[in-house]
């Protein structure tokens, strides 16, 4: 039976104190677009929800020189609408505009997408591609972790029961990098990604690839870097054969499952096809 209490903490300090008391019986209520669904379906049971939506410490997008700082409670629609994000982290904008639906984006939060740790989370590959860091605050103090190291498995992160994600810090890409994000789903909206991916390439004036990142989502227990494909591409000229080989490598590096949204084979093929498309886009 669905039954939970609701508390709206008036400060981050009181939230952390309360979380430390209730531990795993409590949950953070941000957008609720995943949590409420999970609770109603019985997938998740919690005694009390803590509404963080108006906590000042978790809101706002700010330009901090060489990085962007975004509060964990920032709405996906805010990310999509932000000029600061569009100018310094275009792949975050791209992902944000394709997440869910307008109605979902008006409530869903950046923090929720990260801590929810769905293997198909749309904001995670672009954030990982950019080397995003997370600030977590808890009873034992603050800590900062790389997003890449934070997500451990489907729905699992290294967050402690007394901790809350408060900020996402995103180092800006160097000028001269081309970046892109793409999402493949069974529909153009209201779709959970079957495959998603983000990447950037830094090429020299002759077009030689100096550095590259490719992060694949929805095709492994967590978003994964296509490390072998990246290593293969570095130092090469991105002709068709090179990109095709990199795409093949990315496909074999992925570990998709078969589920209601697609079979393992299909997903691997999608990784190959769309990594190629991504690379073409990054080397235009």
């Amino acid at each position: 039976m669905v039954s939970f209490d609701y508390i709206k903490p008036t400060s981050l300090k009181s939230l952390i104190r309360d979380l430390a008391q209730v531990k795993s019986e409590g949950a953070i209520l941000a957008g609720g677009t995943d949590l409420i669904v999970r609770i109603r379906s019985g997938l998740t049971t919690r005694r009390v929800l803590f509404d963080i939506n108006d906590l000042q410490e978790m809101n706002g997008i700010s330009n901090e020189g060489d990085c962007l700082r975004m509060g964990a409670a920032v709405r996906i629609q805010e990310v999509a609408d932000s000029n600061v994000v569009r100018n310094s982290a275009a792949i975050l904008s791209l992902a944000a505009t394709q997440l869910g639906s307008t109605q979902i984006r008006n409530r869903a939060t950046l923090g929720g997408n990260i801590v929810g740790a769905s293997p198909a989370a749309d904001m995670v590959p672009p954030l990982m591609t950019m080397g995003a860091r997370l600030r977590l605050q808890g009873q034992q103090g603050d800590r900062e972790v790389l997003l890449e190291n934070f997500i451990k498995g489907p729905g699992q992160t290294s967050i402690r029961t007394d901790e809350v994600l408060t900020d996402i810090i995103v180092p800006k890409l160097n000028g001269g990098c081309q970046s892109h994000f793409l999402k493949i789903g069974r529909r153009k909206a209201l779709a959970i990604s079957v495959v998603n991916m983000a990447g950037w390439i830094k090429a020299d004036q002759t077009g030689l690839i100096e550095d590259v990142r490719i992060v694949l989502g929805a095709v492994a227990p967590t978003a994964v870097r296509a490390g072998e494909a990246e290593a293969f591409l570095k130092g090469k000229r991105p002709n068709r054969a090179v990109m095709q080989e990199a795409a093949r490598m990315a496909a074999s590096e992925s570990r998709p499952i078969s589920d209601i949204r697609g079979a393992e084979q299909e997903r691997r093929l999608l990784v190959e096809v769309w990594t190629f498309q991504l690379l073409q886009r990054l080397t235009k």
Partner: protein
């Protein structure tokens, strides 16, 4: 074991204030339909997948099934009942009727609120922008064409 607490809240719905006592675990959709008896807002899926429960929260479209009633305390809500002016239909509603965009009518309240929201921000949307704007609302009857036509005719009319 019952974890529920009760909260006194005030919801401003279609310009009118309602003082209510609600349980912590009730959705805004439930309270709108069952406590306020405003049944124009529909329960389609109860999980944010269909848009049938769309309302405007402080002017922005959201799925009311995913909001707790307590979260809407002190906020402004527009439901489909707030779109017409008494017996005078909104031009969007007139256009829907004119273009045959209403069949069973279940998706209609959500569609109209999305159209209202879109045209408020973008008075001259392209057909593609209209499609994107309603992409969070499912319709099982019309195939969407008449709905898009209805909204598009308003986009052009105001030029």
């Amino acid at each position: 074991m019952n974890n529920v607490s009760h909260h006194n809240i005030v919801l401003t719905v279609n310009g009118k204030d309602y003082s209510l006592e609600v349980a912590s675990d009730r959705s805004l959709l439930d309270v709108i339909r069952e406590d306020l008896h405003l049944t124009g807002t529909k329960r389609g899926c109860d999980k944010g997948d269909c848009g049938g429960c769309t309302i405007l929260l402080n002017g922005r479209p959201v799925n009311s099934c995913l909001l707790l009633a307590v979260q809407a305390n002190g906020q402004e809500i527009t439901t489909i009942e707030g779109v017409a002016h008494g017996s005078e239909l909104n031009p969007i509603q007139e256009s829907f009727i004119k273009h045959g965009a209403v069949q069973c009518g279940f998706c209609t309240p959500g569609m109209i609120l999305m159209a209202l929201s879109l045209l408020g921000e973008n008075p001259h949307p392209t057909r593609e922008e209209i499609q994107e704007a309603i992409s969070g609302n499912l319709c099982r009857c019309t195939g969407y064409v008449q709905i898009i036509d209805a909204i598009e005719s308003l986009a052009q009319a105001s030029k």
